[in-house]
Symmetry: D4
Subunit: 162 residues, 8 copies
């Protein structure tokens, strides 16, 4: 039974959104991925969101671009935490996507990450699950230590260049 | 039976949105007005949109602010033309509302008017109805003549000031 | 006799604007297309707009970029509903086009669609005509059902990828 | 016979635009002022612009806000230099007005000044007339010397404050 | 032992941030609140973040304005989920705060809510805790039902106004 | 003796600015072109501007990008009309150039054209000279007629495409 | 002999700029303050900048708004470090001032602080002088310790409020 | 012992940041360069900043992109002057980087240069060191003279082109 649902409005969002899936896989978190469009399949989207908690999902990651309504609409129909990924489209560099996702009215929050930041959406889902799962939190802490090592290696590489 | 449905996410949008109602009233177009929230009553919103055409509505005007999902979500669930009014909130001067409404994906258009432009939403609904109603179109043409007279009066007033 | 007039300021707008024509063709809506420039042929533009309704047009779609005056100027001279398409130019990603089209003063609305959103302009014209044409509205409803099927297919394709 | 025509879309623009008139008066340049609306009186606007040069006008100053089409439309119908003043409206701080005026396509220039910068529009008209009028140019040079004196006085006042 | 830490860079952020505390109180979630400044007390901030998980916190809400570094810096030093609230300052309407919080690099997510959206930050913290706490999730679902009732009441009130 | 001075901050601006020179050439207006940098040769720039009118120049066209100070600084030191061309650089699409040029304080106007709009700068210089030169104004009027013919040709070409 | 020159384009900038003077006074750094306008007194500005180093100044702080040319122009004429303060004017919240100051071309840097950030300009001048003045650097370090104490006091005050 | 520390959040910033190193090298100023990440190595960053002055550094140049926290965080932990370089990332053209760096709160200044303006960061460091080093200031003055010569050469080259 997956813990995280990764949804997106179109399969053209997958090249961006798969980075969320990869992050979840790295941490051994089970997920499902679906194309669910707020604008093309509104009832299916509502149904997906309404049943998500009962199906055992604990976090939903939703990516969308332009007038990006998917994350907010899903958040309106589930009590689960919803993470929104602003997908950049051809114009405006994702600024429209960002504002459409983050500027939610009081009552219905969406946990928004950076423009195109699907990997961080995956990592945020892990942190949310890890809030009450010590083993997963240790993995996250270890990952953060790895980031430090990576920086140290990059610094060493830089020394040889200057 | 009303021809136009005027909906908004909260009664706090009414001070902006009532200008749409006033324009419709001026042209003798019957309308209904409802608070229907994309984020607080998603199912009710879907239901409203799904049944709108069958109930006899011909145009829907939807106002919303911030991550303004109401116009686009309604447009996704009805074949009627939907007019979106970006309602300005406390920050960003309605730019978030505008982008959230206008930047709809291919397949589901929203006829967007200016920030806070509810009067124009009402007038646009009249023009849409008038496209196939010659009497109403004559009224719109007469209204446009009135605008000209108004400008002439203002110009005369200006002459006395300079 | 065409129902829809598709106009643009320059033939360089055609690669964007032809998507409106294609949508109209898909729905069997007759249209005409013309290059009519607000800035290079102002009198011709006024003439086009002034006679549009009498020639039998019911909706006008106008695309323009930069200081995009064509949609608003046409709307000022016809009682027909005018749909504006912000055409993105070399700089600013169409934000100038969008604001020049959508921010019309009270009295003269332009039904604005997304930046580069000519296909949606065509679909909006269909919805406007369908408001009083049940057969056309059924076609639009069927089209919306097709969009759902498309999403279902894309979702199936995604399942085989993850 | 006035040298400069000052026009604006509405008498509500006059509180901003009168600064242009004041600057012209300071330099003894004759002007006329009119309410001429691109969106409410398009034919009158075209007529105004078409006959301006023959009536003896040498420069036109046009102020407008929002989807500000007046300066560009006038420029399209006269060979005279047209100065555009972006009038700030209730939202967006005049950024929509600025882009709607300045981003004109190749072939039809508008000499744009700052948001709300009607005084500078007046001074620019003076400079344009002074380009071929040595007496007027001397006045402008003297005015610029006055600005220097003003700065010197302000600097002296500042010294007594610190 | 509190589950949520609410921190902010200055006590001047409290008028915005207390809405997060109120939401937590409504749901019976224990929290602590502290002034912790990224720029004035960097070591204390690092210490706060480093020990948060071990002290039993499960979620951190961090509010900051301008070059808003607090949420991202705390996220860099804890494996817990961090919610960022962009606090609007005197200029730019919180756009600088939003971008400084949401545009985090890959590896370190911040769950960003709307500009000034502290209430939603509190509700998001509840959702995160509720992901693995069925009783709390029921409360959230009940709260969402209440929102629906509220809309129904507002709609009724609107009917008496039109 | 040239009537128009075309200046720019760097020879890298020439690919943009030469369109101004071409427009002037088309109308038979004599010009000079120089690299004069506000930031690298401030004294030379001041000297250029200070002596421009006495050397017989009637209009100055100045192009600059980024923190574009050249047009405004030249305008501060000459009574001649100065036309500013915002040159787009690698980032921000020329929005910084535009604001740095157009937002001049009261007292010192710059006639700003569109981002990258050097051709229009040339045409605006022609209009300024033509304000008191009937022959040149006839040429400009003829040019505007040519634009109309061009649109008619493009419209004809479009007909064969649809 | 003052170490720091504080200049501004108009005495209307003083309410913002005096915070720089106050910061310098707190650290016992001698300064002079003058109204020097890039646009109204270009030659005086050049003279001020050209002689600043020889007169013993070590740092220049320049505040300006709108098309803010003073900091960059001064930087072009002195080898001293120049700190630019974007002064917010009536429209655009200082975004025009910021871009006009910070986006300098390669070769001529301006050390830009936040919009309205004159206090930080003063503190930055202190840091620059302190780079080679150990006593002053100790003062700055002590000031930074004071900031920490202030945060601790604010945190204590917050505890009594929640 | 180096006078200047050049740091950046990732080795991917080096293609931008090396221009700072080159400028320092041209002026014979010794520097060190390191990868120090605010978000991946927060403690190391604090340590770097805390010990910088004692290790003999006089100026720190920090480059970062997106939610760019490195310059501000370093400035919060050292009394040295810190120069911030907004590194442009894939989206938003560095506007997020700029605002995240420049909009620092009162008390902790960052000397911000243009987007991608690493060369100017190097030159600004030279000017800061030169404020109390006459030989270095002469070099900077000589460099500024060279810029003038360069402009003269470019102007000569332009003459042969027109």
């Amino acid at each position: 039974m997956p813990d995280v649902g990764v949804i997106m409005g179109s399969d053209s969002d997958w090249p961006v959104m798969k980075a969320a899936a990869e992050a979840l896989t790295e941490f051994g978190v089970a997920f499902e991925a679906h194309v669910v469009s707020a604008h093309r399949t509104p009832e299916k989207m509502i149904e997906y969101a309404r049943t998500a908690a009962d199906r055992g999902l604990k976090v939903i990651i939703a990516g969308a671009g332009g007038a990006a309504h998917l994350p907010g609409m899903v958040a309106s129909t589930t009590p689960l935490p919803v993470i929104g990924v602003p997908v950049p489209l051809k114009y405006l560099d994702g600024m429209d996507s960002l504002l459409s996702i983050v500027q939610m009215p009081a009552g219905v929050p969406v946990a928004t990450v950076s423009i195109g930041g699907a990997r961080n959406a995956g990592l945020l889902a892990v942190r949310i699950l890890a809030a009450t799962d010590e083993a997963l939190r240790s993995k996250m802490a270890a990952y953060q230590e790895d980031l430090k090592r990576l920086v140290a290696e990059k610094d060493a590489a830089l020394q040889s260049e200057i």
